[in-house]
């Protein structure tokens, strides 16, 4: 078990390194750069020669040496300086991260709740049209664009019903609409997989055996079917958790929240390479960490995997 865990951790480190390298190379290959974007404005009156001097000031030397020093910096926690604002990247991340963490974790919890509610209601309902209707909800959710949903929610709840103030309001009030916007699309795949897994488990021969013990429908669903259906769902839930960071770009922009998504959006507009690199590596780290957790959880939830691990 510990050996398995160690090898998984090693794999995770490898994935992180590959993500770092790939995004570093891609960002270097981008046409144009942040220095041009920042200093080419004619009003600044800088000559091409002066721009070249500024460039020399930022660049450290050969591309390989550059890569090695950046990698060393990442390993020791020095992520460099934002070209756009000059602030250390670590500071900008530290400002943005808590906002996004709050948004993302709340949205993930809500998404799981929505998914479980849909899947349970669908499998519990005996009327086939209701079941069909419930099962088509995830397809609807997944096809709703986040920016549109965000604007729609603001329109309805802030402008029409005036339930949530557009500006100001308590921390909780500010969180409600963005969380909803982010949660709805990611609840869809979780709900779909969970509903299918529940159907699959219901077809297993052990279900009638539990029923023959005199168990109620709820007992069967909660204690046996759901417990078995969690396994495939966990994998998908892990994947969507990683997607939250991508989702927060749109949501935070629409709701004007200062978070990781907003930071990404600004960094891309300004071609602020150090910030972009840090964001990509952070996202990769979240992905890797979550799948590591899922891996560890699996044998705990399904004893059959203990022998295999």
């Amino acid at each position: 078990m510990t050996r398995h865990l160690l090898s998984r951790a090693g794999q995770a480190a490898l994935v992180l390194w590959a993500a770092f390298t790939a995004s570093y190379v891609l960002l270097q290959l981008l046409p144009g750069d942040s220095i041009l974007i920042k200093f080419q404005n004619p009003e600044l009156g800088l000559s091409p020669q002066q721009i070249a001097e500024i460039r020399a000031h930022y660049a450290a030397g050969s591309p390989l040496a550059d890569y090695v020093s950046t990698l060393a910096g990442f390993l020791t926690g020095r992520l460099g300086y934002s070209i756009d604002t000059g602030a250390p990247v670590v500071e900008r991340l530290a400002e943005a991260l808590p906002e996004t963490a709050r948004l993302a974790s709340a949205a993930f919890l809500l998404a799981v709740l929505i998914a479980v509610a849909i899947a349970f209601a669908a499998s519990y309902s005996r009327t086939s049209w209701l079941r069909g209707a419930l099962l088509s909800v995830p397809s609807l959710f997944i096809s709703v664009p986040a920016f549109w949903l965000g604007i729609l929610l603001i329109q309805i709840f802030s402008f029409r019903l005036k339930l949530v103030p557009v500006i100001g309001g308590s921390e909780l009030q500010q969180l409600v609409l963005p969380v909803l916007t982010l949660a709805v699309p990611i609840s869809a795949p979780i709900a779909q997989v969970l509903a299918r897994a529940i159907d699959h488990v219901y077809a297993q021969p052990f279900v009638p055996v539990v029923e023959a013990k005199g168990a109620t429908r709820w007992w069967v669903l909660w204690r046996h079917v759901a417990r078995n259906a969690v396994l495939p769902t966990l994998t998908v839930a892990g994947l969507t958790l990683g997607e939250l960071i991508a989702g927060s770009v749109v949501t935070e922009t629409v709701f004007g929240r200062a978070g990781l998504g907003r930071l990404t959006e600004q960094a891309v507009n300004a071609q602020d390479t150090p910030v972009m690199l840090a964001v990509v590596v952070l996202a990769a780290a979240v992905f890797v960490l979550v799948s590591l957790i899922v891996d560890v959880l699996f044998p705990i939830l399904d004893p059959r995997l203990k022998a295999a691990a």
């Binding site: 052990f206 013990k213 005199g214 168990a215 046996h224 417990r227 059959r304």
Partner: protein, 520 residues
């Protein structure tokens, strides 16, 4: 007054009648066996009693009464909610398939304790004590450890014991046993059936035993109910029905059951040359760092034109041996010689394999004509017209009508599919057929026809068969010579007559003792 009374019970699936007016009764403490082939409605009838039919099924007519006088219940039309007080507490269920009938993510102890908890027992210590008692009572050693284990850590026989413990935990008046031992090896089957008998005697429980196995029904029941196509064709005391069956169908069923009809032995022809020679065959698999010997020094010969049976229980290594003989697996050491078989791809023209599962071994997207012609196309035998003629000839040989040519496997019955598989195996004109549990998945009447067909084909075409089976009754009927396998080794080899009448090895004796009495 009887404990259970079914009167004219009818069940439909999606509006289509599957059970037409079944009437039967079970007296207190009595064992009633419901026998019939697949699709006869026996399981549907049994499940209707406790309302465990699938969602698309409904009981449309008839009455179901249950309970001793004074506490008599009319279960007909009871809601799920009301039936729950009866399920588990007054009627227990032993299901068919021990491999998948326990929740894989819960411990064995939790699943036995569950039936007590469902019916209101709250005291954890008392539940635990009762669970350990039950595990010991159903004959599982070291109950403390067993209770903490998960189903996948137990063997099939042990799991079925756990399921029996669940069924009898609350001492119900009736146990419905739905093919309780069909998935188990014969020796295990016998011990599990003995356990059920003991518990019944101890608790005075009545049993409705649903089975396709007439041997099991004959040995274990007081009364017999024979079902066919959703109707009861005959019922009466077991001994009476077996001795003097009234319905034509019952007579056919008894005649076809290999376990009940003692046919003469097939003695091998004298001094035939060997077609298959197996010498010191070994197959090792690596399990982690350790090597596991699935086949451990197996040697035997099969004379040309005869049938040699390889019998053994699951895990004995018989299928691995068969796979090495047809060259689907490479032996770790040892040698298989098949007289006259060329090397390379043409080996398959000489040696063919027929699988157990007639549902999985045919490509569902091909027509029967395409399936049977495939070996001919692969080996480039004949032109289009010649191939068509050959396919027609093969269908005649296996007694399938010509109109199946354009049909798909799913439109055929299990027996018809196995005939298709045999026709395909014969297409390239092989001399050796390896039949791996080829009739095990079939109903007895179908099984009897396929065995007749195999015998006729052997006679007409001079085929040599290697017949892999766990079913001694079938082996007795078809084979000339037998090798008995256990834990990768052959423990006994001889003519069928010798092995069945004068077994020398203890394991052979145990196997023979486990099959129902008539044959012995």
């Amino acid at each position: 007054m009887s404990l259970l009374d079914l009167r004219d019970v009818a069940v439909s699936y999606d509006g289509r009648r599957a059970v037409h007016g079944v009437s039967l009764s079970v007296e207190p403490g009595e064992v009633v066996a419901v026998v019939g082939e697949s699709g006869s409605g026996k399981t549907t009838t049994a499940h209707a009693i406790i309302g465990l039919l699938p969602g698309n099924a409904s009981v449309d007519a008839g009455t179901i009464h249950f309970g001793p006088p004074g506490r008599r219940l009319d279960l007909t039309g009871w809601s799920d909610r009301r039936l729950r007080s009866v399920r588990g507490a007054r009627i227990g269920l032993v299901p068919q398939d021990p491999a998948n009938s326990l929740d894989p993510v819960k411990t064995v102890g939790a699943q036995i304790g569950e039936v007590l908890r469902v019916h209101g027992q709250r005291d954890r210590r008392r539940i635990r004590g009762r669970v350990l008692d039950l595990l010991a009572r159903v004959g599982l050693p070291d109950p403390e450890t067993r209770a903490r284990q998960y189903p996948h850590e137990l063997s099939g026989g042990m799991r079925q014991r756990v399921l029996i413990a669940i069924a009898v935990a609350l001492r119900p008046e009736l146990v419905i046993a739905d093919e309780p031992t069909s998935a188990l090896d014969v020796t295990v089957q016998r011990r599990v059936l003995d356990l059920i008998d003991d518990l019944r005697a101890e608790y005075g429980t009545a049993m409705l035993l649903v089975t396709h196995d007439l041997g099991v029904a004959a040995g274990r029941s007081d009364r017999l109910v024979v079902m066919k196509d959703g109707r009861v064709v005959e019922q009466g005391p077991t001994a009476g029905v077996l001795a003097a069956p009234e319905a034509g169908y019952t007579r056919r069923l008894l005649g076809d059951a290999p376990a009940l009809s003692a046919r003469p032995f097939r003695d091998p022809p004298p001094a035939a040359r060997p077609a298959i020679t197996v010498r010191d065959l070994v197959k090792e698999f690596r399990v982690g760092r350790r090597a596991f010997r699935a086949v451990d020094g197996v040697s035997f010969e099969v004379a040309r034109g005869t049938t040699h049976a390889l019998v053994g229980e699951s895990g004995s290594g018989k299928t691995t041996t068969a796979r090495m003989i047809v060259r689907f697996a490479r032996p770790t050491s040892g040698k298989v010689t098949i007289a006259g078989a060329p090397d390379g791809r043409d080996f398959r023209r000489h040696v063919q394999l027929v699988h157990q599962n007639p549902y999985g071994s045919l490509d569902p997207r091909q027509s029967i004509g395409e399936i049977v012609a495939e070996p001919l196309r692969n080996f480039g035998l004949g032109d289009r017209a010649a191939r068509r003629a050959r396919v027609a000839e093969l269908l005649d040989r296996v007694a399938l009508p010509r109109d199946v040519l354009t049909r798909r496997p799913r439109e055929l019955s299990g027996g018809q599919r196995q005939r298709v598989a045999i026709a395909r195996a014969l297409a390239a004109g092989p001399e050796v057929l390896v039949l791996d549990e080829a009739v095990s998945a079939l109903d007895v009447t179908v099984q009897a026809r396929i065995l007749d067909l195999l015998e006729r084909l052997q006679h007409d075409l001079g085929l040599t068969y290697l017949f892999i089976s766990h079913d001694l009754a079938v082996v007795r009927q078809i084979s000339h010579t037998v090798s008995v396998m256990s834990e990768g080794r052959i423990v006994e080899t001889g003519t069928t007559r010798q092995v069945f009448t004068e077994p020398r090895h203890d394991y052979t004796r145990e196997l023979l003792a486990a099959i129902p009495e008539r044959v012995r």
